[in-house]
């Protein structure tokens, strides 16, 4: 399998050069072509001064070019940083500055935010991968740094550059919502990803005939399985266009048209597929496995989907970005009367999980505790934030037999009689919505930066399809409309974090210690509904 992520590609290109690697709309690219083109990109990056340990941003809608970018960046020893293509410019600029991006690999449609990203000061070049010729030059003056196009790859050596890396080197940084108001960069190594990929390929029996969907965006860690799981198996990955997932019937048609065998996504897409795609029993015959992760799958939809697709095996994969996937559960038939959600299961190979009680003891089965994770998938830390890293990566409480650091997930769990863990809730105010991980505090920070906002609190409104919807309770000193507040947020935080509901009020309920009483707010929402 190799010990670096791009070894997966090189080995697929050596033994299956003519097999398709990526399908992107009408384009199919073979392993041989992907190998050569990514070698050329790596050679170009090295010429531009990128070296081992550097960070290179990918700011592109998911496409063949973004897959090429990932491999090119890895092959020169650097780490790729996938930026959310929908994020507001200010947030992109923060991330670029935070991790000191040297180069931005991007697409022409994204040019609107280049200037803002470049203003951070660390960027030296922009490479526009979906434009050829000198089409970039006309834009250079607006951005202030040199812009290259895909033509810069032509004529570069087609061989892989020789870079000495080890599997503990950084492979990618994924930014997630941070409770202090700024996103935080989770650092993952080649080893972290490969530990998961090696397990997954074996567990799901992925083979060269498989056709994997790639639904999740690249800044979401679900994409690690889609891309590298396919390469490890010499299988093909079929990119799902963002516009397809808007319409449940289109998702079904896409699975049929592309004869997808393994689908992996957040549950909300699958709930909508269940409810609004007009599926009949036995439809989607090509599918053999559905993997879901990122949030809880509402039991009623999961049960219905399993009835509709009796030929498909279903797996729940669990793990915060910091640990990639760390546990899994193959869903057993769900009795009609069951409302309880399915377990997150047990640890994957080469990973150990255990629960720790409030008193700091290892929880015994049936006792509630916080889930800790130890082993190959556990991140290296948060970029540039030693303090936060130390607060989450702690010395193992297992004692002398295991003194390495373990990750505290913040998730409360209990082990059931069968040895499967069940998710019970969170220790903090982190929530999930459509698979996105959201710190409510980050939304509050955005609202507090509005000059008219005196006080605010953000609550999660539980929802069947989307897990949670977001409501903001705001006290202002001057009249401000809900639409103005929503727009203000949208300039600072990604759209999936912008509250759907705003409630303007004269005051917020307080606890006896003077803090905002979020329990009382949640109770109000529960009693009156989200909209009032």
């Amino acid at each position: 399998m190799g010990y670096l992520l791009h070894h997966l590609l090189s080995s697929a290109a050596a033994t299956s050069p003519e097999r398709p690697a990526v399908v992107d709309g009408d384009r199919t690219v073979t392993y041989a072509d992907l190998e050569v083109r990514s070698n050329q990109l790596a050679q170009l990056l090295i010429e531009l001064g990128v070296g081992r340990g550097d960070r290179v941003g990918i700011y592109l809608d998911k496409s063949f070019e973004s897959v090429l970018a990932i491999y090119g960046i890895l092959k020169c020893g650097a780490a790729y940083v996938p930026l959310d293509p929908q994020a507001p410019g200010a947030r992109l600029a923060y991330m670029a500055r935070d991790c000191g991006l040297r180069i931005l690999v991007t697409g022409h449609a994204k040019r609107g935010a280049w200037g803002q990203i470049a203003a951070g000061g660390s960027l030296r070049h922009i490479i526009v991968l979906d434009v050829t010729g000198d089409g970039g030059n006309e834009l250079t003056e607006n951005v202030g740094i040199p812009i290259l196009t895909a033509s810069a790859l032509d004529g570069r050596p087609v061989s892989a550059p020789s870079v000495e890396s080890i599997d503990q080197d950084l492979a990618y940084i994924l930014y997630t919502s941070g409770s202090t108001g700024e996103p935080k960069g989770v650092m993952l190594s080649h080893r972290n990803a490969l530990t998961f990929v090696a397990w997954a390929v074996g567990r799901f029996g992925v083979d060269p005939q498989d056709r994997l969907s790639s639904h999740a965006p690249l800044h979401f860690d679900l994409s690690v399985f889609d891309l590298f799981g396919a390469a490890a198996s010499h299988a093909v990955v079929v990119l799902v266009p963002a516009t397809v997932s808007v319409f449940p019937i289109q998702v079904a048609r896409f699975i049929d048209d592309h004869a997808i065998t393994i689908w992996y996504s957040v549950p909300s897409i699958l709930s909508m597929l269940t409810e609004r795609a007009n599926l009949g029993t036995g439809d989607l015959p090509s599918l053999r496995t559905i993997l879901f992760a990122g949030e809880v799958f509402p039991t009623k939809y999961l049960r219905r989907l399993m009835h509709l697709l009796p030929h498909v095996r279903f797996f729940n994969l669990y793990g915060p970005t910091e640990t990639n996937v760390c546990t899994h559960y193959e869903v057993a038939p769900i009795p009609e009367e069951q409302t309880e959600t399915v377990p997150i299961g047990r640890a994957i190979d080469n990973v150990e999980v255990f629960a720790v009680t409030d008193e700091g003891r290892i929880a015994s089965p049936s006792e509630t505790g916080e889930l800790y994770v130890r082993g190959g998938t556990v991140m290296r830390g948060y970029w540039g934030d030693r303090e936060r890293t130390d607060s989450r990566l702690v010395t193992s409480p297992l004692g002398a037999q295991a003194e390495d650091d373990v990750y505290m997930t913040g998730d409360l769990v209990r082990e059931d009689e069968d040895g499967n863990y069940r998710l019970l809730g969170r220790r903090d105010s982190q929530i999930k919505s459509r698979g996105y991980r959201i710190e409510l505090g980050e939304i509050e920070t955005a609202l507090y930066s509005h000059p008219a906002v005196l006080e605010c609190a953000v609550t999660a409104v539980p929802d069947d399809l989307f897990t949670n919807r977001i409501k903001a309770h705001v006290v202002t000193r001057d009249p401000v409309s809900e639409a103005q507040l929503a727009r203000f947020c949208a300039e600072r935080i990604p759209r999936y974090m912008v509250p759907e509901f705003f409630e303007l009020r004269d005051s917020l309920p307080k606890t006896s210690t003077g803090k905002v009483d979020k329990v009382a707010l949640a109770r109000e929402v529960q009693m009156r509904g989200a909209r009032s």
Partner: protein
């Protein structure tokens, strides 16, 4: 206010459109530009159902009906006639 104008108002608020109203033309591609996503489509459908008294069927949830403001207005008009 015409149907297209009411739909335009809704999308401006829903997607936090930050350019001028004139730029959001009847033929502006809503899907390619990410103005309607997987959550947005269900908000839009419930808006259409409550605002115009129509019922949108699962099989009508296709890009041809939601690609532009003109497409949406046409869908609603055809359902009301």
């Amino acid at each position: 206010m015409s149907m297209a104008e009411r739909v335009r108002d809704f999308i401006i608020d829903e997607a936090q459109w930050d350019r001028s109203r004139e730029h959001l033309t009847d033929d502006y591609p809503l899907l390619e530009n990410g103005l309607i996503d997987s959550l947005g489509i269900f908000h839009l459908v419930s808006f259409l159902e409550s605002e115009f008294g129509v019922e949108v069927q699962d099989e009508e949830l296709v890009p041809e009906n939601f690609g532009t403001i003109a497409n949406i207005a046409q869908l609603v008009a055809s359902k009301r006639s």
